[in-house]
């Protein structure tokens, strides 16, 4: 990847963080930690890897994204708004009555959201079904599935991973957001999940681990999944919950947190400075 493209993707990730923060601030609080930890991945997916048409969100041959950790909705909405799926200003309707942007992703409401998620684990089986269905239909597209590390406590995830492997879904790419924290604290305190790479390999996935804050590393890992084949892919994203805003990273309980005016302005100013440096 050339330096120019890397900077563009980094800038896109920063814009996603700023837009998500703006949405969450507009309603006062939200799932800041898990939104920030996948911002870099969202930037690479929509800035480089995925083939989508904002003007035709239901184009049958599009690549699909299933954000099974559905509480990261604001990261998805920020990305889709920046890509032009709907007006940017709509981000400020997050969680308000009648909105198209509910806390958790909903395919029936938001242009560009492919699968309804939020009840943890359920996105994983739907992603497998979608990948299988696309393959039967002869489509050449791929399904990207983002799973939370805490979410993987749910047994349904592992049922779906067995299924994806058994059905040789080489058009499915599972991205595990290994940010080490879940709602009640660190995974190792709540329910230790062990070695995700070894687990996914044991479940029959072609697996790599990358720095989930490094757009170049994420891009390289995604690029190698283009080959398809007879194994589903897993990319374990080594991330930091709250990544990109130091104060959020350093807040112990950052799963959901208030974003008041003062925080919003301070954090936005920090992100804006980063953006200016990247684009200056």
């Amino acid at each position: 990847m050339d330096i120019q493209e890397k900077k563009q993707l980094q800038a896109f990730a920063t814009r996603i963080r700023m837009a998500a923060l703006e949405a969450i601030h507009s309603i006062g609080s939200g799932h800041v930690g898990g939104v920030m930890s996948i911002a870099d991945t969202m930037a690479v997916l929509y800035g480089r890897e995925m083939n989508v048409r904002p003007e035709d969100p239901k184009w049958p041959d599009r690549d699909c994204l299933v954000v099974s950790k559905g509480h990261a909705g604001p990261a998805v909405y920020a990305t889709l708004a920046l890509k032009g799926f709907f007006p940017y200003e709509e981000l400020k309707t997050l969680n308000r009555g009648g909105t198209r942007l509910p806390s958790h992703c909903d395919r029936t409401k938001t242009p560009g959201v492919d699968v309804t998620t939020g009840s943890l684990g359920q996105g994983t089986s739907q992603a497998a079904g979608l990948a299988l269905g696309n393959r039967i239909k002869g489509r050449k597209n791929r399904v990207f599935l983002i799973v939370g590390d805490g979410e993987s406590n749910e047994g349904q995830c592992w049922e779906s991973f067995m299924f994806a492997s058994a059905k040789k879904l080489g058009n499915l790419v599972v991205l595990i957001d290994w940010n080490k924290r879940q709602l009640d604290g660190y995974l190792d305190e709540v329910l230790p999940m062990g070695d995700f790479v070894a687990k996914m390999e044991a479940f029959g996935f072609d697996t790599v681990k990358v720095d989930g804050g490094d757009v170049e590393a994420i891009a390289a890992a995604l690029e190698r999944t283009r080959a398809g084949g007879d194994k589903p892919y897993a990319i374990v994203l080594d991330t930091v919950k709250g990544h990109g805003i130091a104060e959020v990273e350093n807040t112990a309980m950052n799963h959901s947190m208030p974003v008041n005016d003062e925080r919003f302005e301070r954090w936005t100013a920090q992100l804006k400075a980063e953006l200016d440096a990247l684009e200056g």
């Binding site: 049958p60 699909c64 909903d106 395919r107 029936t108 492919d114 699968v115 309804t116 939020g118 009840s119 684990g121 359920q122 994983t124 089986s125 739907q126 992603a127 497998a128 079904g129 979608l130 990948a131 299988l132 269905g133 696309n134 039967i136 239909k137 047994g155 349904q156 049922e159 779906s160 067995m162 299924f163 058994a166 059905k167």
Partner: protein, 320 residues
């Protein structure tokens, strides 16, 4: 065409073979239809056909929650999935997935739950769903069917392919009394009058239809005129038919192979309360868990026989 041919005899076919043949026919003729099972294809009569059609007959293994989610994902991809498991696993075990990934997310699917209520016989209490009807009754927009006989089963299965929302069909794997001629069309949502009457109406579904017909014949011999109405569509209930017969007869008995709470009795009582309050009683499971035994033992044990219907009919007549 709708032709009632009830004469008290069992249909020679096993319902599982009717499921197998009908599902195969639907999938073979509709490129968007797809069938999923959870290691029970031999019980849904689909195994032989599935082995020859592995692309659109998917064995998901013993993982019903995943199966329901996969079905939802297939719906996103443009398919119209039909999934099967035993009634307990097709309801309780994967309810959250059918509810959210299916119903809430507008991913239409048909769910077949075999061995409802006492038809689970030798598998016993762990496999005996009395509550499946109540669960699906509470899923917004769902269609809930208790199939009357093989012709009804085939008719509703075909209709479900083009019906929005979640459709739940409960049916035993074995034999049922023959009620309708083959090829009969039973429009979902329409109750069917099997026998007219004027003193009391028996609304029944599935296995209990045969018991209701036997009870009505016995009551007739005692000078009581009992109507029997097939409520194979539990939801949406045919409110107009319920109201019309309640008005005409002035006394109601509901017979169902399920818990008295939350099922057919519930849906009929809602209509009665809102449109035509008349005395009513039910022949259903009195809020109990299942247990093992033969079907005849279990029907006695849980009070689901023609004699129980007759007893309730006489009791409700006294309250007229």
């Amino acid at each position: 065409m709708l032709n009632i041919v009830y004469n008290g005899e069992l249909d020679p076919r096993l319902c599982k073979d009717v499921i197998g043949a009908t599902v195969a026919d639907i999938v073979d003729h509709d490129p968007n239809a797809i069938f999923l099972d959870a290691d029970l294809m031999s019980c849904s009569g689909t195994l032989k056909w599935a082995k020859a059609n592995p692309e659109r007959a998917i064995d998901c293994g013993i993982a019903e929650s995943n199966m329901a989610g996969v079905a939802a994902g297939l719906a996103v991809a443009g398919f119209k999935p039909i999934i099967h498991s035993f009634g307990t696993f097709a309801s309780r075990r994967c309810y959250d997935q059918v509810f959210l990934s299916g119903g809430y997310a507008k991913n239409d699917m048909t769910v077949i739950g075999t061995d409802p209520g006492v038809t689970a016989t030798m598998n016993g209490g762990t496999h005996m769903p009395f509550e499946d009807v109540a669960l699906y009754n509470a899923l917004p927009g769902a269609t809930v069917i208790d199939a009357s006989d093989p012709a009804c089963l085939a008719s509703v299965l075909r209709q479900c392919q083009n019906r929005p929302g979640v459709k739940y069909i409960r049916v035993g794997r074995k034999q049922l009394a023959r009620v309708y001629a083959d090829g009969s069309e039973l429009p979902i949502g329409k109750a069917i009058t099997l026998r007219d009457g004027s003193d009391v109406v028996i609304f029944a579904a599935g296995l209990m239809l045969h018991e209701a017909m036997k009870a009505a014949a016995s009551l007739e011999a005692q000078g009581i005129s009992a109507a029997v109405v097939d409520c194979f569509t539990i939801k949406p209930i045919d409110a107009d038919a319920v109201e019309a017969f309640a008005k005409k007869c002035g006394a109601v008995v509901v017979a169902e192979n399920a818990n008295r709470h939350g099922g057919l009795y519930n849906n009929i009582l809602e209509v009665l309360a809102e449109r035509c309050p008349v005395p009513a009683a039910c022949v259903a499971v009195e809020d109990e868990f299942g247990e093992v035994g033969t079907q005849s033992y279990l029907m006695e044990r849980f009070g689901l026989t023609a004699a129980h219907i007759e007893q309730q009919a006489k009791a409700v007549l006294k309250r007229k």
